[in-house]
């Protein structure tokens, strides 16, 4: 850098001479034109437009000129720098296009190469199915209630109006827990349904009660294609003023529509459970054939076996005797309850053919179900 010029003579400044500016510009343009790739262009850019380049240095000298000379010199240098900048940009575009056409092609890989380096995980479909149903009822305002799997007979039977000598007590093939003295009379069983959770809920909450009770239950069936001694149930319970069977039906209709699609409704058939009165079997309209397979041998339906309806569970109005055992006044409150089997739902909703697949833990069965169903 030159010192400030005291003589104010522009001719004295070598770098600002028109020929010098022109030469620097031409050298820059030549270097830009000669650059054969983006790296060389970058070099040319640094050399001809960087802080130490002739044109940058010339530009800095302008400030030292007398006012009358500044305008002319500034114009000269400015035009030269503009031309260089423009040429640089142009060459940049050209070289990038060239690179895109050549280099990126050379870098191509086979993207169909498999890549499964990290193993996949999955949740068991019975878990996610239960959660799906829980979420549906939670969205309706229900809460999820849980209870122990090893349960006192009073909760599992007596409080549910399944009294000791009633035939219904033997309807559910029960696992009994051995007493400390080795006898069978411990008063404790593996719960045969999640209904004891309903009892526990009614004993600890005051109405209105709206809960859903998912969980594992046990019956002494041998494992085969359609039975398992350990299975999942999900039950609902509502206790409130003025509840009717209509409310039960409406709740179930909403439930099956959310699970199986618009237009799928339930059908209630009279039945018997000690803990509900009236009681009903719960069927849902076949969501696959929607009843079209009934009486039409040409279009058999595997899901409903051409019955048009799928049996799923049981339901009814809570037997007032059950309310009394839980300290709820049946003159003031009524309730409804329902229960469905998770394995059964998984079978007809997801075409599982053999119950054993849900039990054996083969990862090939579980992986396709992913995180939610």
């Amino acid at each position: 850098m030159s010192a400030p010029n005291k003589s104010y003579d522009p001719v004295e400044v070598e770098a600002l001479k028109p020929e010098e500016v022109e030469r620097a510009r031409d050298a820059a343009l030549a270097a830009v034109a000669a650059a054969s790739d983006l790296a060389e262009l970058q070099e040319a850019k640094v050399a001809h437009t960087g802080d130490r380049s002739p044109l940058a240095l010339a530009n800095r000298e302008i400030g030292a000129l007398p006012p009358q000379a500044k305008a002319e010199a500034g114009k000269r240098v400015g035009q030269a720098r503009g031309a260089v900048k423009k040429a640089l940009e142009q060459r940049q575009v050209e070289l990038e296009a060239e690179r895109d056409a050549r280099v990126l092609v050379e870098e191509a890989v086979d993207v169909t190469l498999p890549w499964d380096r990290a193993p996949r995980g999955a949740r068991h479909p019975l878990t996610t199915l239960s959660e799906r149903i829980e979420d549906l009822f939670v969205a309706m305002g229900y809460e999820v209630a849980e209870g122990p799997q090893v349960e006192a007979e009073w909760y599992n039977f007596d409080a549910l109006n399944i009294l000791p000598d009633h035939p219904a007590r033997t309807m559910q093939d029960t696992f009994f827990v051995r007493a400390e003295d080795g006898s069978a009379d411990s008063g404790v069983v593996l719960r045969t349904h999640t209904s004891p959770v309903q009892i526990r809920t009614m004993l600890t909450r005051t109405p209105p009660i709206y809960v859903i009770c998912p969980g594992r239950v046990y019956r002494t069936d041998e494992l085969d294609a359609t039975h398992t001694p350990v299975f999942g149930q999900i039950e609902g319970l509502a206790v409130d003023k003025g509840l009717t069977m209509g409310d039960l039906k409406g709740t179930l209709d909403h439930f099956v529509q959310a699970m199986f699609g618009e237009g799928i409704v339930t059908r209630l058939r009279p039945s018997y459970f000690p803990f509900t009165e009236p009681s009903a079997e719960l069927d849902l309209k076949c969501f696959v054939c929607r009843g079209a397979s009934v009486g039409d041998p040409e279009r058999p339906c595997r899901t409903c076996r051409s019955e048009g309806w799928i049996e799923w569970g049981g339901c009814g109005m809570v037997n007032p005797r059950v309310l009394i055992a839980c300290g709820i006044d049946p003159e003031v409150y009524s309730g409804f309850a329902f229960g469905v089997g998770l394995e059964r739902a998984l079978m007809f909703r997801h075409n599982v053919e053999d119950m054993r697949d849900m039990v054996e833990g083969d990862v090939r069965f579980t992986l396709p179900f992913g995180m939610e169903i």
């Binding site: 498999p114 890549w115 380096r117 990290a118 193993p119 995980g121 949740r123 878990t127 959660e131 939670v138 229900y142 809460e143 849980e146 122990p148 799997q149 090893v150 349960e151 007979e153 009073w154 007596d158 000791p164 009633h166 696992f175 009994f176 827990v177 051995r178 008063g187 404790v188 004993l203 709206y210 002494t220 041998e222 001694p229 350990v230 009717t244 069977m245 209509g246 039906k249 409406g250 709740t251 909403h254 059908r267 209630l268 058939r269 009279p270 018997y272 009165e277 009903a280 109005m317 037997n319 007032p320 005797r321 009394i324 055992a325 300290g327 039990v359 833990g361 083969d362 990862v363 579980t366």
Partner: protein, 835 residues
């Protein structure tokens, strides 16, 4: 209950073209569970006719004896000539009437009959056995018809071969439907037709000269009717129609007397018992068993009786388990001519207990348990007497004596608001509808707004207003119930625990683990395989009385046996690289477990009583566990994968802890079934500094893996969620920190420590020593070898420093690093490498 449609039509005028399926649909709508509708003789096709055997020629020279018969079938074959038939059976003679299928007919199978050459003759048809006609599997011999059968008559009609049978699974509340009479009542309501009640019979009044009966236990037996029939021809067979009905009803035809008692039971629902009068000694007595008394029942089993068992006795002792099974000593035999018929009503609870105690369910006990109409006893006895007198041969006749022992029964009266059914269903039923429907099921109904209802004697299940409401609603049709939604109050969503369990499942699945749900059943051998010491607490289990397998009678105290079994199953099926997890409860018995008390149900139990139930239950904490085998990262075209190691199991524990927001500390430990040198105790530290071991992780012991036939180096983790989250007060709320935008200053240090010093201790000292400017510390290398003294190891850490409010100077970062190293040196003897 098996209900032949032809039989049902005797009591109800069903529409002529109504099929079994149609009837089933109607009954299902009323709440009878019709499981199947069997089509009897569906693939049977005539001509099937009555024939008379004219000639029998025994053919010689074959492996088995063969007969060539000429059978007169009248004009049924179109020619009137005798039909020539080759037959392998031998239980018939010339002049016997038999069932003949002619060429062109089809037997069940289907098995088409044609003229064919066999045993050197031409056989034109077949003489049929009961089995071949689909009448049951009992008889191989051909059917010999009564002599009065008309030659050439249609045998399909004669034998009732084409019929439909509804198989109904009767629920415990509908005992009355274990009879044709009960099902017919439902069918009559369904079709709006009158019922021809088969129990409406003329019955002579009781008198004093019937067979003597003494009921000592009126609570167990409130009615006992005894009738006597004498002069029965022991050779008299059951007529074909009777046999056929008994057989279609699902019972085996045996002899006239037995078939009649069974027939009447199927018809009226009243179990009957027939005693050989010649083998009875003295009066029939109904009493409870004495201590030590025994009885040999009809099935030839000698049974030790309980003092609660209700017995039928004579002078010599017990002759039957009341309402369950008769005794062998008074059984009807081949020479029986005089019989005493018992039609009694027994207490359902007593029968249920006896049947259960002796594991002896019978057609009779099944009915008594569910409740038999006490008023049906007289009619049933009469019906049996009538049938035996009519079918038992010329000399068979009823004696005039009629014994009836009758205890008063309480009449049930139910007070019912006329709009109760409407309030239950949400359907407005008029009062008249309610009254009419209740009358249809047999109730008497009085009153206007408040109805007083007396249920019929065959409906002991009707005791409460809701029972009556159900009758009205089901007869009006459940399909009338509208679909409405209740106003559910706003809920609070899932509990913190429930959300935590879901997070854990998602986090583990996201980390590549596959969830399994194992059975909780284990045996002691599972604990042996895990190498647990004899006094290991995990061997104390909750044991089942009636397990699925005697090998696995107990409930799990750890998730590992199930998970390792599933791991092995997967490996056996060729699924190689595995990471499995399970989330579930284990069952830990209390030190002492009292019997769960039997609490009342007519009120809410007190909290104290409920605590008694809780005390009888084992602890059932939530656990989560993982097992790993094979590669954690797969090999492939990119190069080698990474086998899973002990550290992956510990990492799984951290995934779980992170998911619930708890910080885990890891300690070296020794705990079965883990490798003693590769086992970590997982420790949760509470806010107050107390420490709690919540589980273990690491590589499993080689001996355990060998015992379980698993590959080497399998790693596992199990932790107790209840313990892990015990300090969380409800919700875990992660707090946002201040994010500094000033630059980071990184300093690396390599520290040499004794090999026995845990890396976690060194790191803890660095963190504490570095102070607040430390943002993170990361161990990036562990080195042992030439450049480190024998018995030592070099740990290389990257320390990152950052201040919230300024750019750190080199001096500040260095000072913090030096402080970190100084504390590590003080705590662990660490020497800064290269210093």
């Amino acid at each position: 209950m098996r209900v032949p449609l032809s039989w049902l039509r005797e009591y109800v005028d069903l529409p002529a073209g109504e099929s079994g399926r149609d009837v089933a649909d109607k009954l299902v709508a009323l709440g009878l569970e019709v499981e199947t509708v069997e089509q009897l003789g569906a693939d049977l096709k005539g001509p099937l006719v009555v024939g008379r055997v004219l000639e029998i020629e025994e053919l010689e020279g074959f492996k088995k004896p063969i007969r060539f018969c000429k059978v007169d079938v009248g004009d049924a074959n179109g020619t009137g000539e005798p039909q020539e038939i080759v037959c392998g059976a031998r239980n018939f003679e010339v002049d016997d009437k038999v069932v003949v299928i002619l060429p062109g007919g089809v037997l069940p199978g289907p098995f088409e009959i044609a003229e064919r050459k066999t045993y050197g003759r031409v056989s034109r048809g077949m003489i049929c056995s009961a089995r071949e006609l689909g009448m049951g599997d009992d008889h191989d011999g051909i059917i010999v018809l009564p002599i009065e059968a008309q030659i050439g008559a249609d045998a399909i009609e004669l034998l009732g071969l084409i019929d439909e049978v509804l198989d109904i699974a009767v629920t415990p509340d509908r005992g009355y439907c274990l009879s044709m009479r009960g099902v017919a009542r439902e069918a009559a309501i369904a079709y709006g037709q009158p019922l021809r009640d088969p129990a409406l019979l003329d019955v002579p009044d009781a008198n004093s000269y019937g067979y003597p009966v003494l009921v000592e236990d009126a609570a167990g037996c409130d009615r006992f009717v005894a009738r006597t029939v004498v002069g029965i021809d022991p050779e008299a067979p059951s007529p074909l129609w009777l046999q056929r009905r008994v057989q279609m009803g699902g019972m085996r035809p045996i002899s006239l007397v037995v078939d009649v008692t069974n027939y009447v039971m199927l018809e009226l629902g009243q179990p009957l018992h027939a005693y050989d009068r010649a083998r009875l000694q003295g009066a029939i007595v109904v009493r409870r068993a004495h201590e030590g008394e025994t009885l040999t029942t009809l099935d030839d089993a000698e049974r030790k009786l309980d003092r609660e068992d209700l017995l039928i006795c004579d002078d010599r002792g017990a002759i039957g388990l009341a309402g369950v099974m008769g005794g062998a000593s008074t059984e009807i035999g081949v020479g029986t001519t005089d019989i005493v018929i018992e039609a009694a009503h027994f207490d359902s609870v007593s029968i249920a207990r006896t049947a259960r105690r002796h594991k002896l369910g019978s057609e009779a006990s099944r009915r008594f348990e569910r409740g038999v109409d006490p008023e049906a006893a007289r009619a049933a006895a009469q019906r049996a007497v009538d049938l035996l007198a009519a079918l038992g041969g010329e000399r068979a006749q009823a004696e005039a004596g009629v014994t009836e022992v009758d205890a008063p029964r309480e009449v049930v009266r139910i007070v019912l608001a006329a709009d109760h059914a409407a309030r239950v269903a949400g359907v407005a039923y008029p009062r008249e509808t309610v009254a009419q429907r209740l009358q249809e099921v047999g109730c008497s109904v009085e009153g206007i707004d408040e109805l007083t209802v007396v249920p019929p004697t065959w409906r002991p299940d009707l005791t409460d207003p809701n029972d009556l409401a159900e009758e009205v609603i089901r007869l009006e049709g459940y399909e009338q119930v509208p679909s409405t939604l209740p106003q559910v109050p706003a809920g609070r969503g899932l509990t913190a625990d429930q959300r935590r369990r879901r997070r854990i499942g998602r986090a583990l699945a996201g980390a590549g683990y596959v969830e399994v749900l194992d059975y909780p059943f284990v045996g002691q051998s599972a604990f042996d395989d895990l190498g647990l010491a004899p006094d290991d607490a995990r061997r104390r289990t909750v044991v089942l009385v009636n397990p699925i397998s005697e090998e696995e009678p107990a409930l799990r105290t750890t998730l590992l046996p199930g998970l390792l079994g599933t791991l092995r199953r997967n490996l056996g099926r060729g699924n190689g690289d595995l990471a499995l997890f399970e989330s579930g409860v284990v069952f830990l018995p209390n030190a002492s477990t009292p019997r769960a008390p039997q609490l009342a149900v007519d009120r809410r139990p007190t909290d104290e009583e409920l605590a008694g139930l809780t005390a009888a239950l084992p602890d059932q904490p939530q656990r989560v566990a993982v097992v790993l085998a094979g590669e954690r990262e797969h090999s492939g075209w990119w190069g080698k994968g990474r086998p899973q190691v002990w550290a992956d199991a510990i990492e799984a524990a951290r995934v779980v802890a992170d998911a619930v927001g708890v910080e885990l500390t890891v300690r070296q430990d020794q705990y079965e079934p883990w490798h003693p040198g590769r086992c970590a105790a997982l420790v949760a530290i509470a806010a107050d500094g107390t420490e709690r071991v919540v589980g273990h992780a690491g590589e499993l012991h080689p001996r355990v893996l060998k015992a379980l036939h698993l590959p080497e180096r399998v790693a596992a983790m199990e932790l107790d969620l209840d313990l892990l989250t015990a300090d969380l007060d409800g919700e875990h709320l992660p707090q946002a920190g201040h994010i500094s935008s000033y630059p980071v200053a990184t300093q690396d240090v390599a520290l040499v420590v004794d090999a026995s010093v845990p890396a976690a201790t060194v790191e803890a000292a660095l963190v504490e020593g570095a102070g607040v400017l430390l943002e993170s510390v990361r161990l990036f290398d562990v080195y042992t070898g030439e450049q480190v003294a024998e018995g030592g190891k070099s740990l290389a850490y990257a320390l990152r420093f950052r201040a919230p409010d300024r750019t750190l100077t080199v001096e500040e970062a260095t000072a913090a690093r030096d402080a970190a190293v100084a504390l590590a040196t003080e705590r662990t003897g660490a020497v800064l490498r290269g210093a």
